[in-house]
């Protein structure tokens, strides 16, 4: 198995080659405005190191913050027609009702609410009003809309109304990009619908970005399928990421944690990823980051995305340091470190300057920071350690000491001993942990559904079957599937034995 992992970050585009379970090469290139050039540069640099000569690559896995940045910066978004099949319920809370107004203004192409949807037990809530859907489609077409988000009551249990409506819309608008909320899972109409609308808004950007990724890989001369990493540390084939870009929103931090697990050989540990400006602290469980609970806001929009539970603090290799009184971060020189840091001839004292003064980092000009005495340097490092310790303690879920893996370019700030930590593990290639995480990503499938009148064990088995099928559909090798999360919740106030089961499985990418 030979894979290239690429992380397109805000500052650097990192690329690594993983071969037979080892990091065979790792390079960094500056991220470019158009993303493509940075990827091409990093692939060329990797090629120039000679590690790729005469080798067949099984896959290129790219992690990017491109899609989430589009939402946060309100750029490159497509106007979306919202079609909700739920009337007469939900009328007082129409689609986009809880979006930040500026984002809604950009994305809301129109709202159509018609009769349809199901009950929690699979009964019809209302028959689908097909005539109203067809009329809505005509109006969408007349308004010049090209992206459509469709939602229906309890569609994760029964997606037939959403699918039928999608057919009817496609008949009128054959070129439209249509997102059904049932493809994005999870109970909670508003949050699921929001995810669907965001997804539809990203349709054009996803198509263009992924085409750019593909052309960069082609240009580099590498013949391998492209995979895109997702928020939960798994990958999907490029074609599916093009269809569901929201799942690839926030993969950077996840990839770092997965990379940390891989490089250290630990599957249960705390991870601290010290970047230039911020430090993310998370927890690995079975080799995957622990997920945040339920509601996650993206660009101000409530969703139910699978996201890692992370605590971010303003500490990094570029953090401003002031000595009297002692303060480290949260301001940072960021990617300007090599110009603005004192050891590099600049005027801003940073944590990196202190590390240079202590002889920890062989960077810049140590003479320029000779005025920092040992005691002062120790105070700065103690403060950084205190900040890290507090963040780790807040994220820990067990009282005992736990191992801590320190990765990222600023990992030198993490001392060998910390209270509450059994041992601190620094790993080789830790500064490229995110690209490593992308390279080793697996494929996942999830099921979140209510089962009625089934014994608990059968309900869980049924959910597992659905999750397995979805993972295989996403490109997993069925033989390698394993369940990494299984949660069941009997439903209060519902009659009979209603149980909501959520199962997530992962497997290796199927070869060929």
């Amino acid at each position: 198995m030979r894979r290239i992992g690429i992380d397109v970050g805000g500052t650097n585009t990192d690329a690594v080659l993983i071969e037979d379970g080892k990091v065979a090469g790792a390079v960094k290139a500056p991220t470019s405005e158009d993303v493509t050039a940075g990827i091409l540069d990093s692939l060329k640099a990797l090629g120039a190191s000679g590690v790729l000569v005469g080798k067949r690559i099984d896959g290129v896995m790219i992690g990017t913050t491109h899609f989430i940045n589009a939402v946060v910066q309100r750029r490159h978004l497509t106007r979306v027609a919202a079609l909700r099949l739920a009337m007469p319920a939900s009328a007082s809370l129409p689609p986009f009702c809880d979006w930040p107004e500026d984002l809604a203004e950009l994305v809301r192409g129109g709202v159509w609410m018609v009769e349809g949807g199901h009950e929690y037990d699979g009964r019809l809530f209302m028959p689908l009003d097909e005539a109203a859907v067809a009329k809505a489609a005509q109006e969408m077409k007349a308004a010049g809309l090209k992206a459509v988000g469709i939602s229906a009551i309890f569609s994760p249990l029964d997606p037939t109304h959403e699918r039928r409506a999608a057919e009817l819309v496609a008949a009128v608008m054959p070129d439209a990009t249509i997102t059904c909320s049932s493809d994005l899972g999870r109970i909670g109409l508003l949050e699921r619908e929001n995810a669907g609308l965001l997804n539809a808004a990203l349709a054009d950007l996803a198509r263009d970005t992924i085409a750019a990724f593909e052309s960069a890989i082609r240009e580099s001369g590498i013949a391998a399928p492209l995979f895109i990493t997702q928020n939960d540390g798994t990958v999907v084939e490029a074609s599916q990421a093009r269809r569901l870009p929201v799942y690839s929103f926030a993969s950077g931090a996840t990839n770092s944690m997965r990379g940390a697990a891989y490089l250290s050989g630990l599957s249960d540990a705390m991870v601290i990823d010290v970047g230039g400006t911020t430090t993310d602290v998370g927890q690995l469980k079975n080799g995957f980051p622990r997920e945040a609970n339920s509601v996650v806001k993206v660009g101000g929009v409530r969703t139910l995305f699978r996201m890692p539970d992370l605590l971010s603090i303003g500490l990094g290799g570029g953090s401003h340091v002031s000595l009297d009184p002692l303060k480290v971060g949260p301001l940072s020189v960021g990617y300007r470190l090599l110009k603005q840091g004192i050891a590099f001839g600049g005027r801003q004292l940073t944590t990196t300057d202190v590390a240079v003064a202590m002889g920890i980092l062989p960077l810049g000009d140590r003479g320029k920071v000779a005025h920092l005495d040992k005691a002062t340097c120790a105070r700065v490092f103690d403060e950084a350690a205190r900040m890290a310790e507090e963040a780790i303690d807040r994220m820990k879920t067990e009282a005992g000491d736990v191992p801590l893996i320190a990765v990222g370019g600023g990992a030198f700030l993490i001392p060998e001993k910390l209270p509450g930590v059994s041992k601190v593990i620094h790993v080789e290639h830790g500064d490229c942990a995110n690209a490593v995480g992308a390279a080793i990503a697996q494929v996942s499938g999830e099921c979140d559904q209510i089962f009625k009148d089934l014994p608990r064990r059968d309900a869980i088995a049924a959910a597992q079957g659905i999750a397995n099928d979805r993972a295989v559909a996403a490109g997993a090798d069925r033989k390698t599937l394993s369940t990494i999360e299984s949660e069941d919740m009997p439903l209060a106030y519902l009659p009979g034995n209603s149980v909501r089961v959520r199962v997530r499985v992962v497997g290796d990418v199927a070869a060929g």
């Binding site: 939900s90 007082s92 807040r394 919740m489 519902l494």
Partner: protein, 361 residues
């Protein structure tokens, strides 16, 4: 007659406070809050009325949603449907209400009376019948007071308005009959609970609970803005008691007779390091034990709060690893009588122990 105009900021605080008074149950008030934001954008306004301003012969409508919070997350409670439950009741009894009141201040039902009130242009009385959230209809101050458990109405958004419970012998029967209807509707119904006279509200309802929820919510939101400790802010304005700080280590859930029952386990942090807390729940947090010893139980309010945000953590959504602070708040004195304890004391939930208040010195 003094009536207080409520601004949207008051409603935002009410939502945060009502979720805390939900003591683990009652459903998150987020969707009712969204409805209120929309209604305020459309120009609707609501007013709060002091119970002492009711004439003894006035009639007050009681508003609540019944059903599974999960179904509400898909159907998204509609404000007009709640208003319909009230107008169907008015038509049935042939009287107009002068005001509305909530059955349950805790959880999403704490905000819902205002959704109906905004449409019907009626004030909401600063009172309810639980002072918190409870899972069943007989767990109210008006049931303790022996007031009539009928009539009741149940309305579905699709126009089913046929359900009027004209007469039932007991509150338990009211619960059973209305619950069946609610299940047929799809496990959610907008209901109007038995109407109350001004005299009944003054004698048997729990006063000041809307103001209390708003004050708690305001304290939490204010502390969040100032980056201060929101839990300390709550304890600063309520006569509450800090019980425990810890992390969730296990949550065991099972559905029995249509309720979510189970037990949450916590490991102590800070001053509570090395000490274990368990809380049994039936939708709401019912009994807390520290190292095996009961330390708080219904009717005392057991509130599990997110240690950082100070906002409530519900029994449906609490999960492994969350850092929580557990506090107790005092219940209405109505529930502390021997009759009150029959309805909501530990034995009403199947725990054969004598009620001992956390606030007894």
């Amino acid at each position: 007659m003094t009536r207080r105009d409520l601004g949207l900021d008051d409603i935002e605080s009410l939502a945060v406070g009502a979720w805390i008074l939900g003591t683990g149950g009652g459903g998150n008030p987020y969707l009712p809050l969204l409805n209120m934001r929309a209604l305020y954008r459309e120009g609707c306004r609501v007013q709060l009325m002091d119970p002492s301003d009711l004439a003894d012969g006035d009639w007050v409508g009681t508003v609540a949603n019944m059903g599974a919070p999960l179904v509400g997350q898909e159907r998204l409670t509609d404000s007009l449907t709640l208003a319909r439950a009230v107008t169907v009741m008015e038509k049935h009894i042939g009287r107009r209400f002068v005001a509305l009141m909530g059955m349950e201040i805790g959880g999403a039902n704490g905000v819902r009376p205002f959704m109906a009130a905004a449409h019907l242009k009626l004030p909401v009385v600063d009172a309810d019948t639980m002072g918190r959230a409870y899972p069943e209809l007989q767990m109210t101050s008006v049931a303790v007071g022996g007031l009539a458990p009928y009539p009741l109405t149940g309305v579905d958004v699709r126009g089913f308005e046929s359900i009027i419970v004209h007469k039932v012998p007991t509150w338990k029967w009211a619960e059973r009959v209305l619950r069946k209807v609610c299940v047929e509707y799809g496990s959610v119904a907008a209901t109007s609970q038995p109407p109350r006279t001004g005299a009944e509200v003054k004698q048997w309802c729990i006063h000041g609970t809307v103001t209390k929820a708003m004050a708690i919510g305001h304290a939490v939101r204010d502390a969040q803005r100032r980056h201060e400790d929101p839990v300390a802010a709550i304890l600063g304005i309520e006569h509450g008691k800090l019980l425990y700080k810890g992390k969730v280590v296990d949550v065991e859930r099972r559905a029995t007779e249509g309720f979510l029952r189970g037990i949450a386990r916590f490991d102590g942090l800070d001053d509570w390091r090395g000490s274990e807390l368990t809380i049994n729940f039936q939708n709401e947090w019912i009994i807390a034990r520290r190292d095996g010893e009961p330390i708080a139980m219904s009717p005392d309010l057991i509130c599990v709060l997110d240690s950082v945000s100070g906002e409530a953590v519900g029994s449906e959504t609490i999960r492994y690893g969350q850092r929580v602070t557990v506090i107790a708040l005092p219940p209405s004195s109505i529930f502390l009588s021997s009759r009150g304890l029959e309805h909501v004391g530990p034995r009403a939930f199947g725990y054969d122990i004598e009620f001992r208040s956390v606030f007894a010195t």
